[in-house]
């Protein structure tokens, strides 16, 4: 009996990886021509290096994890290629750094897969994960710096390299939630006290979870990192629902969210400001609403097919290479480009939830669902914010925006998702 050869050959992945490689090369060539420079192979170094990294990662995945999901990596690589083109176009000096981060990201993904002795190993260290995450955030109170003048001290610096702890905290929190909820899954399904049609969760068993959540939310509200706080609450609700299958918990969670949102709106002036800008950015176009109005103008100027790379004026939008990268994509690649971005995130999230559904181990399934929620909700929060559909909270667009911590954290997520998939599909 010979084993089918086709299954150990990641042909679909290899075929799909041609696209991100070509995308980056074409994009860089376009930038060189538009800036009137000479189109020579030596000017396309970043593109060839990226292609080489793709091939190396693919070969390694084929050798070590032939059965892991084949679509996840190409989708992520395409987002990265588009991100590298946009960052190179917007801030040419950061282009090379971004390619470096993406290369390191591939390494982080591969290292996560290799070094992790089985997904279930993570569940044993849940309190360590929670403690490490909180320690990181608390250390930003004492040692936090604000290298790019955003008004919040969210970074830690080590010799010229800045690192944003909340990026890694979200991964640690998902591991903690997955492990904790998996242990109390049956109790959660059974439910606690009942009030008419609404079943409350069995509260005593959930206390550590609520404390953990409250603590991280408090830390983040005091640190003014609203985007991260919103993200954490969504992860918590989504994972509680996945673990229990009870929509009443979600209704209850949303009710608590409304109360909490109303309270924070009253208590914190920066929350009030965000909501006021969301409701009417145009009256504050010259002051606090400047970024949003510039972003909306850029998106509108792009039209259907955009002005073409380097032919727009996205430089007027503050933070355009990080949080507002969608405004630059909308202006220079048009609605066609921004819709492609949304479709890419949709496929990435679909693939993540598929990995969660296929997983037979409930901890692995919860972990995959939680990590996918992180990517999905974060994209939604910043895309919705930039389109003035919801109050703007500063988070990066996963894999697209410039930023080392964000890129590395997202590749850590991809590595964990591939690990769950590799364990599930191993014959």
């Amino acid at each position: 009996m010979s084993r089918p050869v086709a299954r150990t050959w990641r042909g679909i992945e290899l075929g799909l990886l041609l696209f991100p490689a070509a995308l980056l090369l074409v994009g860089l060539a376009l930038l060189i021509l538009a800036q009137g420079r000479e189109l020579a192979p030596r000017n396309l170094g970043a593109g060839f290096t990226f292609a080489a990294c793709l091939v190396a990662t693919h070969v390694w995945l084929t050798r070590a994890y032939p059965h892991a999901d084949q679509l996840l990596f190409p989708i992520a690589a395409t987002l990265c290629a588009l991100g590298q083109v946009m960052v190179t176009r917007l801030v040419p000096t950061l282009g090379l750094r971004q390619s470096l981060w993406v290369g390191l990201g591939f390494a982080v993904m591969v290292a996560t897969l290799t070094l992790l002795p089985g997904v279930s190993w993570l569940r044993r260290y849940r309190y360590l994960c929670a403690a490490a995450g909180l320690l990181l955030v608390i250390s930003t109170f004492a040692l936090g710096i604000d290298p790019n003048g955003s008004g919040a001290r969210l970074w830690l610096g080590f010799g010229g390299v800045f690192f944003q702890p909340s990026e890694i905290l979200k991964v640690l929190l998902v591991i903690f939630f997955a492990s904790y909820l998996d242990d109390y899954r049956e109790l959660l399904t059974y439910g606690g006290p009942r009030f008419g049609p609404i079943t409350l969760p069995p509260i005593p068993y959930l206390t550590p979870l609520f404390l953990m959540l409250l603590l991280s939310l408090l830390v983040l509200t005091l640190q003014r990192d609203l985007g991260a706080a919103l993200l954490f609450y969504s992860i918590f609700l989504a994972m509680l629902y996945v673990a229990s299958g009870r929509s009443s918990y979600v209704v209850l969670g949303l009710a608590l969210f409304v109360v909490g949102a109303a309270l924070t709106y009253r208590a914190f002036s920066h929350v009030q400001l965000r909501v006021d800008i969301w409701l009417d950015p145009w009256s504050k176009a010259e002051s606090s609403g400047y970024q949003l109005v510039q972003g909306l103008t850029a998106l509108a100027a792009g039209g259907l097919f955009g002005s073409g790379l380097t032919f727009g004026y996205p430089e007027y939008v503050p933070a355009v290479h990080t949080d507002f990268i969608i405004a630059a994509i909308g202006e220079e690649l048009g609605l066609a480009g921004s819709l492609a971005v949304v479709a890419l995130y949709l496929l990435l999230v679909y693939r993540g939830f598929k990995i969660a559904l296929e997983c037979r181990d409930s901890f692995g399934a919860l972990l995959a669902a939680g990590l996918t929620t992180v990517v999905g909700v974060q994209s939604l929060v910043i895309l919705g914010g930039a389109l003035d559909l919801m109050p703007l909270t500063g988070v990066t667009l996963p894999l697209l925006s410039y930023g080392g911590s964000s890129i590395l954290a997202n590749f850590l997520i991809l590595g964990l998702l591939l690990a769950v998939s590799a364990e599930t599909r191993r014959p």
Partner: protein
């Protein structure tokens, strides 16, 4: 003669630059179209791959339908072991008599105790009028109840967990 020659040379030169500019602009336009085309061709390729994946899986499901299983938490008086998997069929009968899909040889189990049906993408359990009743998550079953993955079925002292 001399001036005419110079004028012609200048004209030829500027024509060359215009042609050069034109080709650059055409190349840029072509690359712009190519850039978006690559993005959309990639999306198409992924969707095709997903479609193939889904139809392959559907064919697999058609052959060896896996409708989930029951995992033994407490075997009661039966000779099952804790952790044993019991495969569910589209209609699974539980009881003491040998006619059942899953035979539970325990003195608290009736001959035809309960039935689990797979319908509309979910499992439904009905107690077949058994002597000692059936529990789902420790509450007695009346009529037909939906089962979710993770639910625990109790028959006598036997405990079975529903899993995918």
């Amino acid at each position: 003669m001399d001036t005419a020659c110079r004028v012609r040379a200048v004209c030829r030169g500027s024509a060359r630059t215009t042609i050069l500019q034109l080709t650059t602009e055409l190349t840029i336009l072509a690359l712009r179209v190519l850039f978006l085309a690559i993005l959309y061709l990639f999306l198409l390729a992924v969707v095709v791959a997903v479609r193939r994946d889904v139809s392959a899986r559907a064919a697999e499901d058609g052959r060896g339908a896996r409708l989930g299983r029951l995992v033994v938490l407490d075997p009661g008086q039966t000779d099952l072991e804790q952790g044993d998997p019991l495969e569910l069929a589209s209609v699974t009968r539980l009881g003491r008599s040998g006619q059942n899909t899953i035979v539970l040889d325990d003195s608290f189990v009736s001959a035809e105790h309960a039935v689990i049906v797979y319908r509309d993408g979910g499992w439904w359990l009905t107690d077949q009028g058994s002597m000692n009743g059936t529990l789902v998550n420790e509450s007695p079953v009346r009529g037909e109840v939906a089962l979710a993955a993770g639910d625990v079925i109790g028959i006598g002292s036997i405990r079975l967990r529903v899993t995918r």
